[in-house]
Symmetry: C2
Subunit: 193 residues, 2 copies
DNA sequence: ACTTTTCATTGACTTATGTTAATTCTTTGA
DNA sequence: TCAAAGAATTAACATAAGTCAATGAAAAGT
């Protein structure tokens, strides 16, 4: 739980008591490795998750039937599932636990109530969204301006644990390349060293 | 102004009077084509803009001196400039008006006051952020999973006006390719038709 | 422990992009 | 109006990624 309290105190001015009260009214669930949180094409009652422990993969199957990994969420990251616009739509993505996970579960129903009881919580969420957006933008800009090889080295640098925690072909699709190409990149880099 | 009122009524339950009151306390500025709103490496007092009319280009100069366009913001789009985390940092991007613009200017100082006076405004902003994030994610996922040619056709479909309003080489860098490559793609596509 | 399946690597080949450079076309400003 | 600068196109060549196919390694299930 420390991780959550730490997060809250970084982003709010809530008292310790309020923080504890909030923590206690949150739903926190454990999921086994391989558990599917939401399947592409289904409608979700869950608004978001917050990763306390473990790793969740976000991916989708494209028109040609290929599986494309769009993100990995790990400790201290928020997983946006639906928003005001998309809550009635079927999900474009699947979310699956790559490891055993401990997640805060944010369901859409209790959201309003929580914000009403703790207005500062909405401020926190807004700031989180701003930061998420910024990170996403950063990631995008780097992706645009990089070769696959540079993208790979960038991930090595920024998320060094990732490479140990997930299989190669998923990393490849996360980088937007084929597993074969990732294999060759690694080979090429070993030689240059 | 209609565009702003429309936006507010889509995202809030504010009364018309409140909406008008908010509109009137907003700062709205005109900028000439070519005007630089913020230069890469400078610190900004502005938190964000909201485009009522015109087009703003976001870009940066990378390590090798190459100019990379990361986005174009047009009517009804919000331009996030800084957030809680980045407000003391120098900007990684430059923002320049590609056309004459009419923009709502959101400065960091008045933000808190506004949220305090109109709590629903923060709700609106939070929802906007959620939607922005979703769009950004969608754009990213499409980018990863596409060839340059597919990226081009996708932009043609999704932002048909864009191609008429900006020069080719900026579009090319927005697509993450060279101007030469974009030229060849267009040529190839003409033949196939 | 062994079989089966899935995953990672390697090779051969095709193709699209990056790079460099030259040429044509457009815009801008004197 | 014309000259100069900036953009877009085209060509030639090198390189790296995609595809298809085969092999080798690891993981999973019996």
């Amino acid at each position: 739980m420390n991780i959550l309290l730490k997060y809250m105190s970084d982003f709010t001015l809530l008292s310790e008591e309020e923080q504890r009260a909030i923590s206690e009214s949150l739903r926190i669930d454990e999921y086994k490795k391989g558990k599917c949180l939401l399947r592409q094409g289904e409608v979700s009652a869950i608004k978001c998750y917050f990763v306390l422990k473990g790793c969740v993969r976000q991916f989708f199957i494209d028109e040609s039937g290929k599986e494309v990994t769009s993100n990995f969420f790990m400790e201290e990251q928020a997983i946006p599932i639906i928003n005001e616009q998309t809550q009635r739509d079927v999900s474009k993505y699947s979310f699956v636990c790559v490891e055993d996970c401990l997640l805060v579960v944010g369901d859409a129903d209790s959201e309003k109530t929580m914000y009403h009881n703790y207005p500062q919580l909405e401020t926190m969420v807004r700031k989180m969204m701003e930061i998420n957006l910024d990170e996403m933008q950063e990631q995008y800009r780097e992706f645009i301006n990089s070769t696959p090889e540079e993208r790979y080295t960038s991930v090595l640098r920024k998320r060094p644990h990732l490479i140990d925690r997930i299989p190669q072909h998923q990393l490849a699709s996360y980088l937007g390349i084929t597993p074969e190409s990732l294999s060759r990149i690694k080979k090429r880099m070993k030689k240059t060293n």
